[in-house]
Every structure is written in structure tokens, then in C-alpha cells.
Amino acid sequence: MEDFLEIGGVRLRSRLLVGTGKFSDYRLIPKVVTASQTEVVTVALRRVDFDNPAENMLEYLPKEVIVMPNTSGARNAEEAVRIARIARAAGCGNWVKIEVISDQRYLLPDNFETLKATEILAKEGFVVLPYMSPDLMAAKRMVDAGAAAVMPLGSPIGTNRGLKTRELIEILISEVKLPVIIDAGIGRPSQAAEAMEMGAAAVLVNTAIATAEDPVMMAEAFGQAVSAGRKAFLAGPGAIQKYAVASSPLTGFLQEIS
């Protein structure tokens, strides 16, 4: 059985999306792409130096990957919209990850402004992937606004703490009619596998790969974990039993009565 993730009319084989901030050297990025087998890479427009090829991150990306510019640094919908338009005009394609953060202490996304930007950009023909706090009502509105997927955070960005928002994400996965991609907070391949086993459509990882001692090997580990987690989900794992199936059942007397 072929298993694809379809976003914006594109069929992706890999369910790992990779972020490019925080790397010590741009020359690592193509190696990370190859090792992880990712097909979608997100790049902050604020970091793209169009005037200087050696400093232009886009120059380091293999041609076949989908570049998903992100609106890092936007404090409101208006700034996010402007950044997205600049990125598209500069030839970065029509995918965009909306990131609106008006809190610099915890870097938590602003769902209200993100929704506004999603609505505007989806109408303009962008493939919009909003980064958000895992709130069900907000996610449903993102769907209505024309988002191509929703990207709830697993825990605050950069923290490597894993799926602290697990309960809310499970609800999103069960209720939202779009791919749910876990973005932010995934710090270990095991956590990525866990997200995939839960039924997430994909995960996006940056810090955990970029700040590893060996980012390329870590990228490979994430690629494998995501693929293993996905397979486990498709295979339908056995239910986890909270209580052992006792040899002397508590309700055994019912059979005696009947």
C-alpha cells in the first residue's frame, strides 16, 4: 500500500518537515535534507539574504524540495501577509507557514492574528499552513479560512519537551478534517514517533536536529522515527491494557449466574 500525505495538491512521501534556523553552517542543510529524506523545508524570509549568494539559505537547498517560507518575526496578521507576499514575489513558491508571534517571552503563537492572515493568504492562492496553539475551535476556523493543514505545537518552541499538549492534539487529530502536523517542541526521535503513532499527519523539526552534536545523523534518526511511527499507526497497534487480564476475572460470577 502506498502511503502519501497530500497537501496543496502535492503528494509527499516523507512525513518529516524540517526547519532551517539555528544551524551552525548552511552547508549542513543539504546533508540534513538527504539524511532525513524530507521533501518540505521551511525557511524564515527574515534570514534570506537575496543580495549575497553565500549567505542565501535558498542556494543551499536541493532543487527537488518544496520551500515553505515562514513569517517568523511577524507580530500581527498584516506583517505576516506582507512577508508571505514578498516571499512569493521573490520566487519562493506559494507555500507559506504562518507564524504570528506577539509574545517574545514564550514565543507562543497568536491564533487570532494567524487566522486573519490564513484567510487573506488562502484567498490569494497560497498553500497556507498555520502554526498555532492546539485549540479546537481555532483549528476549525483555520479549516474554514482555507488552510491546507494545521500545525499545532507539541510544547513551546525550542524546548525539546515533546508532546506536552497531547490531550489537545488528540482532539484535533480526531476532529479536524485536514492534516495535523505537529510543529515545535519535538526534541527526540522517540517523541516524533509517538506523534506519528497518535495519528499525526506529519511533524516539523528544527531545534532538535540543528542543535544536535551531529545534526546529519540526528536528521536521519528523525526520518526513521517518523517513518516507523507512521507504519505503527497504519498497522493499528493493540490497545494498551490498563489492568492485566486476570485469571480470576472480577465478573466471572456473571457466568456462574447465567
Binding site: E55, E79, S102
Partner: protein
Amino acid sequence: MSFYHELSMYQREVARLQQLEITEARIRQAIDSGSYHPEDYWVLLSPEADDYLETMAWKARELTLQHFGKTVQLFTPLYLSNYCINRCIYCGYNAGHGITRRKLTFSEVEQEGRAIAATGLKHILILTGESPKHSPVDYIKRCVTILRPYFSSVSMEVYPLSVEDYRELIEAGIDGVTLFQEVYDEMVYGQLHLAGPKRDFRFRLEAPERVGKAGGRTIGIGALLGLHDWRVEAFLTGMHANYLQQNFPGAEVSVSLPRLCPEVGGFQPISPVSERQLVQILLALRIFLPRVGITISTRERQGFREHLIGLGVTKMSAGVSTAVGGHAVHSEDDPGQFQISDRRSVAEIYRVISELGYKPIFKDWHDVG
């Protein structure tokens, strides 16, 4: 509530904290979970914490890596004018000093901008002395308009302004404002600033919040370390940064840690800060405010600056001249605002940072105005 009112509250708090018994357990707790807790920040700045610098360094390194990755943002200052009507006893631009006064013409501003842009830098910080006659808001505004096409971020470090003036300059393209309070003790402030509009302590102290109100994207603050008891000054600087983050959550707040440098007037630090103590401040600040930007200037010697990168520094100046016209317009007779220790070019600093396993970042904002 303005930070002016919070400041007096924190000064009373310092009196209490100075009596605090600081045990090893208390220090370890502060290292472990001290983020956003003022008392823990004080504990980390204490003489007792000096023995735990190594543990603090590991924690600070981890937090910096987590939030900023393996990157260091580069920028350079561009001095527009050294005319100044203030008499600050520690500053090379002191109105009483018989230095050659210069102000860049608009074509010189462009020449300087072009020379800096040719080094690859995309973030620039423009500076002037305080002179309503030579460097009024209109002059600064015109300079911003000239420089904007060359850079993705133009910030400024000039005398404090009103909300309206800040708004006007932000509209013209100013991305951020840096303004050092120099010293947070109002009485000491009065003794060091002998004449000129800078004597108005409160107008200066509240300037960063006016930048926030005007919608500034980045706000930088700092105390000139060496002017007064550094533990208290570093503590109050942290409280100021914390206040700005809480009240203007969308703004990126940065703290500079400038140590007083020799200048043309020969002023000596009142409360000298050693390199070890500077490191303690840096580590304590990173643990207290994990997301705050931390800038280290070329006042510090090369070698020492490099060691600080992994420990919490996120921004560094490179290819620095503190002289007006020092990048392209000839001015060998200008001694600058202060002496710098690290005179390396942008390319040299770029290479050194890369060799340390960090990515020097030229561009970290896209002008969307």
C-alpha cells in the same frame, strides 16, 4: 505603571535582598529554575554564586542553544555626528572636551552606508551625540531614508525622544532603538551627568517604554558597567528588560553589557568589573531571561569575546569604528567616543565565529514597510 515607579520599588527590594542568606542549595535552585524570578536573579549575581560559574555556564549555554541555536547576529555602529551639548564625565563626546567635532553630510552618510554594506552586513546601528542644532530628528530621519535601501534593519542609538518622534522615525524605517540608561541610581546619575538635557533621569529611563508605545520592533537597553555597584546595576537592568518584555510582548528586547572603557577625558571606573564578573552577569541574565538578546561590544578584547559566544551572547558588533566617518570618510584625527579593543574586520570576525561552530548571521529581518 512606568518603570520609573517600578524602579524605586526594586531599589527597596535590593535592600531586602542584600540581607538574604545565600546557601548552596539556594544557588542550585536558582540555576535550575530561575527564569523570570527576580530573587533568583539576585542570587545568581551574588558573590556566593561566583563558586558556581561553571554550573551556571552549562545552564546558560543550554538555554542559549535552545532559543537561538548556533547563531550570532552581526551588526556595526555608524557614527553620524559627535556634536554634543551634554557633559557626561565618562564620555569622549563630553561638550567640554576639545575634540574635533564632525557631522556627516548626507552624501557622506551614503558613502559610509555603501562601505559598510560592501562588507556583507545587513544590520546597522546609527548613533549621534545630543545636539538639537547638529543632529535634530529631521537630520536623523533623512539619514535613515538614505541608509534604508542598503540594509534590512536600521536601528538607532541617539538621545531620548518623545513617542511622536519615535513613531515618525519608525515610519521612516527605524527598526529598533537602543538607549543605555548608563546608571540606574538616580543620585549617582546626577553626579555623573553635569550639564545638558541628559540630566533628566526620568525622561531617559522612560524612553525605552516610549519606543514600545510607538511600536518599535526591537528595544535595547544597558547600564555602563563600572559607574556604580555592578551587582545592583545588573539587577536593575534585568528588571528593566523584564518590565519591557512584559509590557511590550511583541518587541524583541536586548541587553548590552558595556564595560566602561578609557576615553579621551581619562575617566576611571568607580566600581570596576572584572572579566570574571562580566561573565557572571552574562550567565545570570541568560538564566533570568532566556529569550533576551545579549550584545557584547568591541570594547572587549578579542579572545574574550569569542569565549562569550557559547555562553549567552547573541549579537556582536564587527568591523567597528567609533569615529564619525570612520568607515569610508577620512578622519584619522578623531579619537572616537571610546577606545575599542577588538578592531577586526567583518570578514575576520566572520571567520572566527564560523571556526567556533557558530553561524554568523548578517540578515535577521526583512524590511516589510
